[in-house]
């Protein structure tokens, strides 16, 4: 079946070579060019660079890149609040690329409810550092020392002189805002630190407030794409055949038992793994059920 061409993402083609996992603001249909590209390791962007985590576009939009993925726990929304807090920008100006291994740092995936407690640490530090760098740029631009400046809603201004302001967008104007960060830990525990200091929670205005979850409306409206919604040209379907209990060993597979099923492609056997591949999901389901497999007696039968 043909993939929906409207959903192909040119950006991914440019970064071809990586295997795309996870989902978020990104659509899921993988461009054919990407599939054709060899799956060599593209290398994760280095976490030591600030611009591997955060970019400020010409129009002041903030793009954050994180190796975490939104799978229904609301992390994208929570991350947006934390970044908006430390950077002093409106929360809806913060967009994310999540879990794309070609363009995000390796934060070890998601698991164990650690995305907020651990995975957000580098994002907060990066946002605080970006704000500190912007203050340095603004000090030069506005001719006032950093300690005379304050930030709010994507703007730097001189305290007690509201006419002297400059926006983040004007300060960076699409050029790279960058700095070297100190990296510690890896995977779930990956952290980076730069010149920025985190705010005192007593001064929070965004974190701790309730903002709508970003993924709920697209889900209820039916436009959100889950991993199971990936379709690629020429895609086959697979199903696993399992024994009736734990510890059974594979004795024999009779492939002839399913050869008559229309759309059946092949049976895959590796050690004690048995699976079938077919052109349609229904053919795969039928073949997995019909395949004659002989297993040794299981050590433990499922209830």
């Amino acid at each position: 079946m043909a993939p929906d061409p409207a959903l192909s993402r040119r950006e991914f083609v440019k970064n071809a070579g990586g295997l795309l996992i996870g989902f978020s603001v990104l659509d899921f249909t993988v461009a054919p060019q990407l599939l054709a590209a060899p799956l060599e390791d593209p290398g994760f962007p280095s976490p030591a660079r600030l611009d591997a985590w955060l970019k400020i576009d010409k129009d002041g939009a903030i793009r954050v890149f994180s190796g975490k993925a939104e799978i229904g726990m609301g992390v994208e929304t929570a991350f947006a609040q934390m970044v908006a807090e430390e950077l002093d920008v409106p929360v809806d100006r913060v967009a994310f690329v999540l879990g794309d291994t070609a363009t995000t740092t390796d934060q070890g995936g998601v698991g164990g409810s650690t995305s907020i407690s651990q995975g957000s640490k580098p994002l907060r530090n990066v946002a605080a550092t970006a704000r500190a760098l912007l203050l340095q740029l603004a000090a030069r631009r506005l001719g006032a020392p950093v300690d005379q400046l304050e930030t709010q809603s994507g703007i730097v201004r001189v305290k007690n002189n509201t006419s002297k302001t400059v926006s983040y967008a004007d300060l960076v104007g699409g050029t790279d805002l960058n700095d070297l960060l100190k990296v510690s830990g890896q995977g779930f525990g990956l952290n980076v630190e730069g010149i920025g200091r985190l705010k005192n929670p007593d001064s929070y205005t965004v974190v701790g407030t309730s903002v709508p979850r970003r993924d709920i409306a697209p889900k209820v409206l039916g436009t959100f794409r889950y991993i199971t919604d990936i379709r690629v040209p020429g895609m086959l379907h697979g199903r696993v055949t399992r024994p009736s209990g734990v510890g059974a060993k594979l004795l024999n597979v009779n492939e002839d038992s399913v050869k008559g099923i229309a759309g059946y492609v092949k049976t895959v056997v590796k050690g004690n793994f048995v699976g079938v591949v077919a052109e349609t999901e229904w053919a795969a389901i039928r073949a997995a059920k019909a395949l004659k497999v002989t297993w040794s007696a299981p050590a433990l039968v499922f209830p």
Partner: protein, 157 residues
């Protein structure tokens, strides 16, 4: 394989399928409609729900042969991002669901319920939702959303 014609969300589609194949796979794999979802494949969870002639039906159990000539509605056909159905709006306003994988079943079953019974009691809802599964435990907000949808729809009726 045979040709079957299916009327989905107001449009007639001709698909090449095994007529014994459950409707779910024709909708997902042949028509690229993502919202009828595979949860159990056994009629036990409701993730695959569609409306067939205004009744909430589990598409993993309904052979294509029994869906032809019927009016099939999926979540895609309920409302659009520009014009969400009042039930969708209520579920969004209540910020219902965590992962949302189950929501297709709840939203469409709520639609079938409210079409028949615009002022359901909590007991009516529990009966209608009897064998829908939500592993994330979003039930309290689901009930709040259906109550909100009922009152919104009454007000605008």
């Amino acid at each position: 394989m045979s040709r079957a014609s299916l009327k989905v969300n107001g449009q007639v589609h001709v698909v090449d399928v095994d007529l014994d194949s459950p409707l779910l796979y024709a909708l997902r794999d042949d028509l690229a409609l993502n919202n009828p979802r595979f949860g159990c494949g056994l009629g036990q969870c409701g993730a695959c729900t569609v409306l067939v002639d205004n009744r909430a039906v589990r598409s993993c159990m309904l052979p294509v042969s029994r869906a032809t000539g019927k009016e099939i509605i999926t979540l895609e056909g309920l409302g659009t991002p520009e014009r969400p159905h009042p039930i969708q709006k209520a579920f969004i306003d209540e910020q219902t669901f965590q992962c949302g994988y189950c929501l297709n079943g709840w939203v469409l079953t709520a639609k079938a319920l409210l079409d028949k019974n615009p002022t359901p009691t909590d007991k009516d809802m529990r009966d209608a939702f009897e064998s829908l599964v939500c592993r994330c435990g979003s039930h309290v907000r689901i009930f709040a959303a259906v109550r909100r949808a009922a009152s919104d729809m009454k007000r605008s009726a």
